[in-house]
């Protein structure tokens, strides 16, 4: 078992697909991961499972890998896997990042409506897309991702696969933005929307992983002193940015919400 605990999860799942299914039962979603290089033991440790859940999970995986072996069933309550994940109370630094995610999620949640309802050939449509890109560049990237990359991730091991994956996602997101700017210049609506949609898919999954796995894990591993340091560093980083631009980004999300609503109402009236 020691060997498999130190094996990248993708290899384990390829060899034993049932392991992927077991992990999913514990809300550990490694199967769709594109990288899959995290070690099985790190995956078990990084998720906020109770001792009983962890023992049960390891037992079930071991049983799957070595069905012939006589493995002692640990004394765990049958209900272990059904109990909710421990309630998480975040430190103020992690809470701040999660609150920022909430705003980013709000914008990306509106993207399908934008794609469906906004004519980017029109001046106002083009402006909305440009404002949306500004939100992504300034709020999601310079305001939020920068705090993760320049500050928070420095408190982890940057060689960890989960950190590498998060950094790679940030880069991919930047690539989508560049591609959208180029396509928008050419009035290539199809490409703009394809990248906007890809950005939405990428960030939705990325944020989910940070909220559910990475952040809780980091929060459990940082000391009180480090929470204070991060808090100060976050404030210093934010002070260097133009407050007005950040405020404009926050307003943008409200405006686009109203805009989408208005377009939908107008459309309804036309079809009546």
């Amino acid at each position: 078992m020691h060997k498999y605990l130190n094996t990248p999860i993708k290899e384990v799942i390829m060899k034993f697909p049932q392991v992927g299914k077991i992990l999913e039962e514990y809300k550990i979603g490694c199967v769709p991961c594109t990288l899959g290089s995290c070690l099985l033991k790190d995956i078990v440790a990084i998720h906020n499972l109770s001792q009983a859940q962890e023992t049960e999970l390891i037992y079930r995986i071991e049983k799957t890998i070595y069905p012939q072996r006589d493995i002692k069933r640990p004394a765990f309550k049958q209900a272990a896997k059904k109990t909710a994940v421990k309630e998480i109370k975040y430190s103020p630094v992690i809470k701040r990042l999660i609150d920022e995610h909430a705003l980013i999620k709000k914008w990306i949640g509106l993207i399908p409506e934008v794609i469906e309802n906004v004519d980017i050939a029109s001046d106002s449509g083009k402006k909305l897309i440009l404002d949306g890109l500004d939100f992504i560049r300034f709020y999601a990237d310079k305001f939020h991702h920068a705090k993760e990359e320049d500050i928070l991730f420095g408190y982890t091991d940057k060689n960890l696969d989960i950190i590498k994956t998060m950094l790679a996602d940030h880069e991919t997101a930047r690539g989508h933005v560049q591609a959208m700017i180029r396509a928008l210049d050419k009035g290539d609506k199809k490409t703009v929307f394809a990248h906007l949609n890809a950005y939405k898919e990428l960030l939705s999954e990325h944020i989910k992983r940070e909220d559910e796995i990475l952040y809780p894990w980091i929060d459990r591993s940082i000391s009180t002193t480090q929470v204070g340091e991060l808090f100060t560093k976050f404030n210093e980083a934010e002070e260097k940015l133009d407050k007005e631009v950040i405020e404009k980004c926050k307003k943008f999300v409200q405006e686009v919400e109203q805009r989408v609503q208005k377009i939908k109402t107008e459309k309804k009236e036309v079809t009546k």
């Binding site: 109370k89 975040y90 430190s91 103020p92 009180t224 929470v227 204070g228 808090f231």
Partner: protein, 159 residues
């Protein structure tokens, strides 16, 4: 009159732990005190003291250190401290001002408030929150509540 000690203020209700606490290992050796300053009483301390500058500060209710067996090792270590009783001490407004000065002038890194589970002790967390509210700087504040027998009942960030 009740001789069971029940009823009345939970903070001063009589309770007898003699049976519960006579167990535990008797350990030998001498443990180092983790206190690195004097004075410690909140009225007496000065936010200008070098050991408060940019420090992680523990604001502890007076009774806490007597109840938590590993107070020095687990909570005092690495921190600068101030103690107060939010129930009996005079001049609580001065307490708020002093905590505010620790935040703004000593630019402390974090504040951990340790209190007993009795309701009146929550006043110390309120003092810390009020000080933070009126301070120019913002810092993380953690609240740790301990039971009368020294168990940690909750530990959470309040700001």
């Amino acid at each position: 009159m009740s001789d069971s000690g029940m009823g009345g203020c939970p903070g001063s209700r009589m309770q007898d732990f003699r049976e519960d606490t006579k167990g535990g290992k008797v350990e030998g050796g001498v443990r180092q005190s983790q206190l690195k300053q004097w004075p410690i009483q909140l009225h007496l301390v000065s936010p200008e003291a070098p050991y408060y500058q940019k420090a992680d500060v523990l604001l502890s209710a007076d009774c806490v250190a007597f109840t938590v067996g590993d107070f020095h090792k687990d909570y005092l270590k690495g921190k600068s401290v101030a103690i107060a009783c939010p129930k009996l001490d005079e001049g609580q407004e001065e307490y708020t001002e002093k905590v505010k000065s620790l935040i703004d002038d000593a630019k402390i890194n974090t504040l951990t408030v340790m209190t007993m589970q009795v309701p009146c002790c929550a006043g110390l967390v309120a003092i810390a929150e009020e000080a933070l509210h009126s301070a120019k700087r913002k810092i993380p504040i953690k609240s740790i509540v301990v039971s009368l027998q020294g168990d940690v009942l909750s530990e959470e960030w309040v700001s």
